[in-house]
Symmetry: C2
Subunit: 388 residues, 2 copies
């Protein structure tokens, strides 16, 4: 009987651990200390929405050799035992005297020799999900070990998706695609933003999402001011461009792409922006290859927009995707991360329409050696029209 775990067979997690350990060896790390929901899920398969509660820290230690060790609150023992992890140490959290720090210190001391190096992610796009005071206690208790940044170690491994991971992202992209196709059923002139946001989340669930971690959007004349607001109580009116963006989740994997709709006929300024966004994405898909850097994608999209008379909006124009809504790298002029086959990415060009308003377009893609594969169903070239 093959070993099983949650979400994937144990072999998937074993392969991930071995890739991390190879990178750790190259970086001179004796252990990796992981605290975030994503890193814990990535290495164990432990999937729960309970991370929503900030009450308890959770720790996974990856030794230089051998299987990961879980040091977790006892409330999670039952679920962790369903994963491939066999060494599970628990304490009753939250404990105001010692919230797992003695147990974690003993675990690390047993796996890392004096003078050894313990890596944890400390860099861009990372957080330490444990109380800062407890981290300071831990470093004091293990003063003869060195704590160093392991952001690159984790990122270089996680950013290349396995075939099993790609199937999960493909599945949630398809679910979102069916929900987007149903938007004209419930979004029309007169309904409030709040109503259509709610119905969009219901459509995502009805089409098969396990849960909806992220929905944002906007609606205003010829474009919207920002792309991160929750819904307002105002009604859709003719001439609005309605945008939904979602990070829905299936088996712990995210999609992240948006779609735009015009309430009644689109104005020429909105149609022009849509055409520029669609064409810039099209030409980037045709050109993007491994060996380029993240900054090259920003350039390709910006130049593509310019060729169609549009000006790119500020900020990044896409990013990595997988087990969080957004992953590194970032498509900005400053990010020099090399792009490699197996990366799942979003292309997210935005451009100005008028008065500081923007239109944003987004697709999810998989980078192959010789081509770009769309994981999201390609957005229509022309803005779909909602009843006005």
């Amino acid at each position: 009987m093959s070993e099983t775990s949650l979400i994937f067979p144990a072999a998937e997690f074993r392969a991930r651990t071995e890739r991390l350990q190879a990178q750790m060896a190259a970086d001179g790390l004796n252990a990796l200390l992981l605290t975030s929901a994503a890193d814990v899920f990535y290495t164990t398969g432990f999937l729960t929405r309970f991370w929503e509660s900030p009450a308890r820290p959770w720790f996974i230690v990856i030794p230089a050799k051998g299987d990961p060790v879980a040091v977790i609150p006892s409330i999670g023992a039952d679920l962790m035992q369903k994963t491939w992890i066999r060494t599970i140490r628990t304490w009753d959290a939250p404990d105001p005297r010692d919230d797992g720090i003695t147990l974690l210190t003993e675990t690390l001391a047993g796996l890392v020799p004096a003078g050894g190096r313990i890596g944890l992610p400390m860099g861009l796009e990372t957080h330490l999900r444990m109380p800062l005071g407890d981290y300071q206690t831990l470093t004091t208790c293990l003063a003869n070990r060195t704590f160093v940044d392991a952001t690159a170690c984790v990122h270089r491994v996680r950013e290349i998706k396995s075939a099993a991971e790609i199937e999960k992202i493909r599945a949630i992209c398809a679910i979102a695609g069916r929900a987007y196709a149903r938007v004209p059923e419930f979004a029309r002139k007169g309904r409030t933003h709040a109503e259509v946001f709610r119905d969009f989340q219901i459509a995502l669930l009805a089409e098969g999402a396990d849960w909806v971690s992220y929905v944002a959007g906007g609606a205003d004349q010829d474009g919207y001011g920002d792309v991160i607001s929750p819904a307002a109580d105002q009604p859709l009116i003719e001439g609005d461009i309605l945008m939904f963006d979602t990070g829905a989740v299936k088996d712990g994997y995210f999609c992240d792409y948006d779609r735009n709709y015009s309430v009644g006929p689109a104005s020429s300024v909105a149609r022009h922006a849509q055409e520029a966004l669609w064409q810039a994405t099209e030409s980037t898909i045709a050109t993007l290859r491994p060996g380029m850097r993240a900054s090259d994608v920003h350039r390709l999209l910006t130049e593509g927009l310019a060729r169609h008379g549009a000006t790119a909006s500020g900020g990044r124009l896409g990013h990595g995707l997988g087990i969080t809504l957004t992953e590194w790298p970032s498509f900005t002029p400053l990010d020099s991360t090399p792009l490699r086959a197996g990366m799942v990415l979003t292309l997210e060009p935005g451009c100005y329409t008028r008065d500081g308003r923007i239109l944003v377009h987004e697709e999810n893609i998989l980078l192959h050696e010789d081509r770009v594969e769309l994981l999201s169903p390609r957005a229509p070239q022309h803005l779909p029209e909602l009843d006005a």
Copy 2:
């Protein structure tokens, strides 16, 4: 015209700031540095699901006197301008060279004199939501200021809810109550856990939740093994006790309570556990008053269960509630936090049924000077029966 902000009038946020500043003065703090979604929302009204993206840090600085200062990624400027915050400093994030740290250093240096103290939450149930390496850079740049733990400062203020906050929690509790009442419409023998979890989330949205940040539960014969798992693909069978637990959100405020259902007639062991949980909650509601400590609630619930022949399950038996799924204090034997009028809390007794299985019961309450008010509609005394 009165000042407005998002979610509440500006006066609400001004009062919160003044309460924080009074506590800061008592604790000898020259500024407070806040990084978490909850603390940023609490002080500004800035509400977005964009926190789901780990890409960017967000900073709010509360000076000893005067209004808060936002130091945030430019992608959030439009939304922050809709709040009562007038000083908004932005940078283009993510920036691998300097992700807001120079801007934050300048802001803190301008508000805190040399030798001054900057507080930030470092204690139990807190995280620093920014890269650890950037925090280390910040403390180096401001080496002539001291960074100290401000967990108690923030907790003592946030744990007392205003009338406006209580109305928000009351509203989402009522929404969840209507969704729980609809469970017999879609949960019955033969439907899979995944199907009914999905339908429950749809019911929460349909009844008025803005979004559903948390749904967990379980279903097994006479009780369930854990309370944090996502749904499995197995069908409900006769004799299962189905439990749903949800943290649904309206205007940024959470409910957090569960409900149990029996698939077909409940066994005597399940009926006995339900009766003990219901009675222990009833007697605790009758007895709990300000002046008690968090540990007293654990004792009241444990003793109440024992009087009805049941043994309390491990872990905490309730906690605070508000703008995250769970807030401090924790109803454990170790938490000595004094309970005060204005606290919103959950009573969450659990007890063993058989073979390590448990039943968990939960209500949301508001502590008054002279009584406990239920915010969740009281659970039925006897287990509701689903079609089998």
